[in-house]
């Protein structure tokens, strides 16, 4: 026998050299924006780990982040600008120099700008520089700009911003430290990747906290929930309505919070058929009115010691009648149709479960309050010694937003929060600065593209009534995507999913150039991919493409690249400057405002340029205001980093909030600072201004916080932000639809507007059950590929190279299917072939699969016979862009926000015949290969193995899970 003595300790090198340099930057493997440390050896990346000091991830890293280095090895990386030489879609290109590429783009865009700037449609996908790209569109003068929010999560953003002045995900988070009941609705795996995982880990370690996941599928987060509620898709609003019904019937309502912080007690004019019906009754000073419960008199809602009545119709001074908003709310939700027993079958949840959850929520909210010994001052100047909260928190995401009833479903969740008094309280939902904002936020969408002129404001905004819509006199949309028209009045994030169709159709007008950035619109980012491809390649009678020019910028050879006329190759995230700005999608947490940068860690080994640099250069060539000096020279010759340092907007606000002012001593507002980026780099590439504990809760009504926010430039006035259980803004649109006011919708849209612009939260059933297509079909991304470009990543693709359709065993049996069988998935608009896997953890009326695993053969540098192309599949082919009647307002979307209704898909399963090949379908023609030959063996790390340094072994130290991730929340308690 060999003895253990053969292996003395010294034979194992416990102290190899690791890195000769460590650089911090911000991850971009998904949208989460964690801080990372890139460990470099001889200029190459040895490994990437989480930055322990960073507020987003506190040192942890996810599967994608730890695989970022493999993006640098991807054979899909584009290497040089490309000019199309064959027909669109054939993938035949000529490599060109940047000078030629920029000449071509500047020629096309210059012609457009002189003629009609709106003929440029500039849409970005997973862009994290929207305050910059939107500004660029403004300077160019086109209203046709947006990013991908319209097909992602605008229902969450819109419902939140029009109800509570903030929203889930990026604008808010649960109070992980103090919550005792956490309801997670429809969260696709890993949206807000590490913060949610860190938070769930914290919750799971606390015996006094319960985590309930409401989700048709039990994977990932739902797998560790203390209770999984396998709801039927699209019925979350009905489930929440039943919870509200149960709470109202038991008087489990936080009356004080409703009175003080919401508009529940405000009087709503009750004069049906008149022009003021449904508007808030106001006094001579334009202050909302309430009824004083002690005297019965009409009083201003703003009075400090308000004790209002919540029900009871009254007569106003002018003889009109009015009733508190809450009365309408209660009338609606105490209706027997919302009793738990009445909704159980439709939701797929037993009535007893709904009743128990309502009782648990009430128990935690009203019997297990959390009190922090932190004094604070409210908006009425009253001092409070403590902060007391009802520790029920909620979070929701794609599963709520990607339905046509998503806006109102999300509003229902916010209504439940308001009823319980859990908005920005200890243990509840918390805003992340710069939220809350006034409801709705300031700023309206830009209108009026004119030749050679910039827009007067940013393209996207927040309509506060019909007068802010972008339509001409007959109701025709001003924007190509029809956002902010009568069709989709609250399409706050634009509607990327309609752009290709509308550009092809010339609806409402033809465009010249479609300019896309990081949006895989010829594949998994479009509904009905075959139709999209036809529209991209369709020609007019004169032989020209119906979409004459298509410019595309991306770092990788995606399925969309072959459809571009001009390809501008982008860098990877490790090769660029970037800015995660408070002006668009900041990295703030509830306890502090924060922003971040990316710095170039690696030098590109290809002839590629950061997209933002290219935009600035194009802007200078086009002499766009803001990008050009008076003498015609470029304003930012140093590219995007030059812009980040020197660009200043109104009120001395710039892209970055930290180290402003000439000496770097100013925060949020101040002059440009020459050394600002250096300060960021010294501080780990992020900036965070921690809020003092007294400013961390009740911020809709916390006077010192509101003043802080005003000074920071986040809100116009330091005024109380009443939460809107009742939305007068929505009612203004409804009144227009009912024939009031100068601006009214086209007749064809009156009923649609009147129905959907209900000022109260509304349960809207989706299409009635159809026995032809009885099953809901959903997708989600696996956590290791969420929001990422993972299929060309050599490590991530080993985790998932193909996808199956997951089916409940009972459902499979009814369809004659067994685990492993191949099936046709059939919708009203198409069919897809796939292999099934059975699982119990799925709602029986639902099938689902991992999204965006299926790839088109030949794309992404993968072998044409890669499993992604042979066995992988997408459900996109089954999802129509338009539903119901043809013509206006028929997009498969939420009728208020235009949010793409990906999850309204209904299908049936038909077992494949024995003679059908076990390959997914439909099959698209293989794209021609690009890039270097695929390597047969990867042995990246061999050259990076560290030499021994001979340093003595240090004592090991213990690590208890979760210990390193505790934030500064405890400062507050």
């Amino acid at each position: 026998m060999s003895a253990p003595a053969d292996h003395p300790a010294s034979s194992v090198d416990t102290a190899p050299e690791i890195a000769d340099d460590i650089k911090t930057t911000t991850c971009y493997m998904c949208a989460c924006r964690c801080g990372i440390r890139v460990h470099l050896k001889n200029g190459a990346v040895r490994h990437i780990d989480g930055n322990p000091a960073h507020p987003v991830n506190r040192g942890v890293i996810c599967a994608k982040g730890a695989s970022g280095i493999m993006q640098q090895h991807s054979p899909a990386r584009l290497t040089k600008p490309l000019l199309r030489v064959g027909p669109r879609g054939a993938g035949e290109f000529r490599e060109i120099e940047w000078s030629e590429a920029l000449d071509i783009a500047a020629t096309w865009l210059g012609d457009i700008r002189r003629r009609a700037p709106r003929e440029l449609a500039f849409f970005s996908g997973r862009d994290q520089s929207q305050s910059f790209t939107g500004w660029w569109a403004q300077q160019f003068g086109t209203v046709n700009y947006a990013a991908h929010g319209g097909f992602c999560s605008v229902n969450m953003a819109a419902a939140g911003l029009y109800s509570i002045g903030g929203s889930f995900w990026e604008f808010g988070e649960p109070d992980w430290t103090h919550t005792r009941y956490f309801l997670l609705f429809g969260v696709a795996e890993d949206h807000a990747s590490n913060p949610i995982k860190i938070g769930l880990g914290q919750l799971k370690s606390r015996p006094d906290a319960k985590f309930v996941s409401v989700n048709p599928v039990r994977t990932g987060y739902s797998a560790i929930a203390d209770e999984w509620v396998g709801i039927r898709p699209g019925t979350d609003g009905l489930f929440v309505a039943a919870l509200i019904n149960e709470l109202l019937a038991a008087d489990k309502v936080d009356w004080a919070s409703l009175a003080r912080y919401t508009n529940a007690a405000w009087l709503v004019i009750d004069e049906p058929g008149t022009a003021t019906h449904g508007l808030i009754a106001r006094d001579a000073h334009d202050q909302p009115l309430c009824v004083d419960a002690r005297t019965g008199a009409l009083v201003s809602a703003g009075s400090a010691d308000l004790e209002p009545r919540f029900v009871g119709r009254v007569e106003l001074a002018d003889g009109r009648h009015a009733a508190p908003a809450f009365e309408g709310f209660a009338r609606r939700f105490l209706d027997p149709q919302f009793e738990p027993a009445a909704v159980a079958a439709r939701c797929g949840i037993e009535a007893g479960t709904i009743r128990r959850i309502a009782a648990e929520i009430a128990e935690v909210a009203f019997e297990r309050t959390v009190t922090l010994d932190i004094p604070w001052t409210d908006a009425w100047g009253r001092h409070h010694a403590q902060m007391t909260g009802r520790p029920v928190s909620m979070h929701a995401m794609r599963g709520i937003s990607a339905h046509a009833n998503g806006f109102h479903t999300c509003r229902l969740i916010h209504a439940l929060q308001m009823l319980l008094g859990t908005i920005d309280v200890p243990g509840g939902f918390r805003y992340k600065p710069p939220f809350p904002r006034p409801i709705p936020p300031a700023g309206s969408p830009a209108t009026g593209s004119a030749p050679g002129q910039p827009l007067t404001r940013m393209p996207l905004g927040f309509p506060r009534g019909p007068e802010y819509l972008l339509t001409d006199a007959d109701g025709t949309p001003e924007r190509l995507d029809h956002a902010f028209s009568w069709e989709y009045p609250l399409a706050l994030h634009g509607m990327l999913h309609t752009v290709i169709h509308n550009a092809w159709k010339g609806d409402p007008y033809p465009i010249d150039t479609l300019f896309l950035y990081m949006a895989n619109m010829a594949w998994n980012s479009s509904m009905d991919i075959p139709a999209t491809i036809r529209q991209l390649t369709d020609r007019r009678e004169d032989g020209e493409y119906r979409i004459p020019h298509l410019i595309y910028s991306d770092a990788y050879y995606s399925e969309t690249v072959p459809y571009a006329d001009l390809v501008l190759p982008d860098t990877t995230y490790l090769e660029r400057w970037d800015c995660i700005s408070l002006l668009d999608r900041p990295i703030s947490d509830a306890n502090g405002a924060a922003d971040a940068i990316r710095q170039p860690v690696l030098t590109p080994d290809r002839d590629v340029r950061p997209f933002q640099d290219v935009l600035l250069e194009l802007g200078a060539r086009l002499h766009l205001p803001g990008m050009t000096n008076d003498d015609g020279t470029p304003r930012y010759p140093g590219g995007y980093s030059d812009y980040l340092r020197h660009h200043v907007r109104a009120n001395d606000v710039g892209p970055l909030a930290g180290w402003r002012g000439a000496d770097g001593g100013a925060t949020f507002r101040g002059a440009a600072n020459e050394d600002q980026l250096e300060r960021y780099i010294e501080h780990g590439c992020f900036f965070r201004a921690a809020l003092p504990p007294s400013l961390r809760y009740f911020r809709h009504s916390n006077q010192p916080y509101l003043e802080y926010a005003q000074q920071a430039g986040w809100i116009g006035a330091a005024q109380h932000i009443p939460l809107e259980l009742y939305s007068e803004t929505l009612q203004k649109f409804r009144l227009a639809a009912e024939g009031h006011g100068e601006l009214q919708p086209p007749d064809a849209l009156r009923a649609r507007i009147a129905t959907n612009f209900d000022p109260l939260p509304l349960w809207q059933p989706l299409a009635p059950d159809d026995s032809t297509f009885p099953l809901h079909a959903l997708t989600q991304r696996p956590m290791h590929m969420y929001h990422s470009w993972g299929s060309q990543n050599a490590w991530l693709r080993q985790l998932t190279t193909r996808n199956a359709l997951y089916v409940h065993p009972d459902t499979a049996r009814r369809a004659g299917l067994a685990d492993g069988d191949w099936t046709w998935i059939i919708s009203a608009s198409g069919r897809v072939k796939a292999q099934i896997k059975t699982m119990h953890g799925v709602n029986p009326d639902t099938v689902w699969t991992w999204n965006a695993i299926g790839k088109r053969s030949g794309a992404w540098g993968l072998a044409p016979d890669a499993p992604e192309a042979r066995q992988g599949f997408l459900l996109n082919h089954l999802i129509p862009i338009h539903v119901g009647a043809t013509g206006r307002a028929s997009v498969n979307a939420d009728p208020l926000t235009g949010q793409a209704a990906w999850f309204d898909l209904k299908v049936r399963l038909e077992k494949c015949g024995v003679d059908e090949p076990e390959v997914s379908a439909p099959v698209f023609a293989t794209l021609p290969a690009r890039g270097p030959a695929r390597t047969a063996v990867l042995r990246r790390g061999l050259a990076l193995k560290g030499e021994p340094t001979g340093r003595e072994a240090r004592e090991h130290h213990e690590y208890l899970g979760g210990s390193a991730q505790a934030g500064d929340d405890e400062e507050a308690s």
Binding site: E17, I18, A63, S67, L200, I224, M839, K945, E958, G961
Partner: protein, 241 residues
């Protein structure tokens, strides 16, 4: 045959909380990334962009369903070498390449002695060994022996890469041979258990089972009868009283 040490000074190992693991694979890719350039570098990948991509991974996460008394449950199960006290992979090794360190109990492979016979992978009941066909040697989890003692890293990073990465805090690391250690206390508190104890391997790594969930309430809310009309009366009274 290779001998195991009679005892080890420490029993360094992992405690993995199955009640908290969401199956995100952060541990798996962080492990891959570190060890690709680590003690056993590289962790070769073959056909990385082709029809049958494969690679060496020291840590893999399996997700599956189990049936329990309360219905089915989804389990995310990360698996790596358990650094067993009675490691059959060591005793089966014909060359002495597989060994268990006396000082900390970590099971390693000496690549210079490994002949790639794969007996160890047959002997391991957990399937934790990884053969690198390109190098022709067996590789495996080193418990990041080149991290945990390594003064070239900052102190906080001197834990296994999988542990440092884990976003939910489902992974802990320490001396399971020391009853006073935090990890030992965690195992006691949570009822940590040996994986497949019937195999007699005496694994050092421990798994924590799901916590019991106790009901928050015994009764549903008591509803007032009478719907909205009764509520309106009630609420008018409430505010007036």
């Amino acid at each position: 045959m290779t001998m195991l040490p009679q005892t080890t000074a420490k029993k360094l190992g992992l405690v993995i909380d199955l009640d908290t693991c969401v199956g995100c694979h952060a541990c798996a890719t962080s492990c891959k990334q570190w060890n690709d350039a680590g003690h056993s570098a590289p962790l070769t990948d073959t056909d990385p962009y082709g029809a049958a991509p494969d690679g060496v991974w020291f840590n893999r996460v399996h997700s599956y369903e189990v049936q329990t008394a309360h219905g089915s449950k989804t389990v995310n199960f990360p698996k790596s070498c358990l650094h067993c006290d009675n490691a059959p992979c060591v005793t089966v090794c014909p060359t002495g390449a597989s060994f268990k360190r006396v000082e900390d109990g970590i099971v390693l492979v000496d690549a210079d002695k490994c002949i790639g016979c794969k007996l160890c992978s047959w002997a391991c009941p957990y399937g934790a060994r990884e053969y690198d066909a390109t190098d022709g040697v067996m590789k495996k989890c080193t418990l990041c022996v080149d991290r945990i003692y390594n003064e070239n890293l900052d102190a906080a990073a001197r834990v296994p890469a999988c542990v440092a990465a884990c976003p939910t805090g489902a992974r802990s690391f320490g001396d399971l041979g020391d009853p006073a250690s935090g990890v030992s206390a965690l195992v006691r508190a949570r009822g940590g258990y040996d994986l497949m104890p019937e195999q007699g391997c005496a694994p050092v790594n421990q798994y924590l089972p799901p916590r019991a969930v106790t009901p928050l309430v015994q009764q549903p809310l008591s509803r007032h009868a009478g719907g909205i009309e009764s509520a309106l009366l009630r609420w008018i009274d409430r505010v007036l009283s």
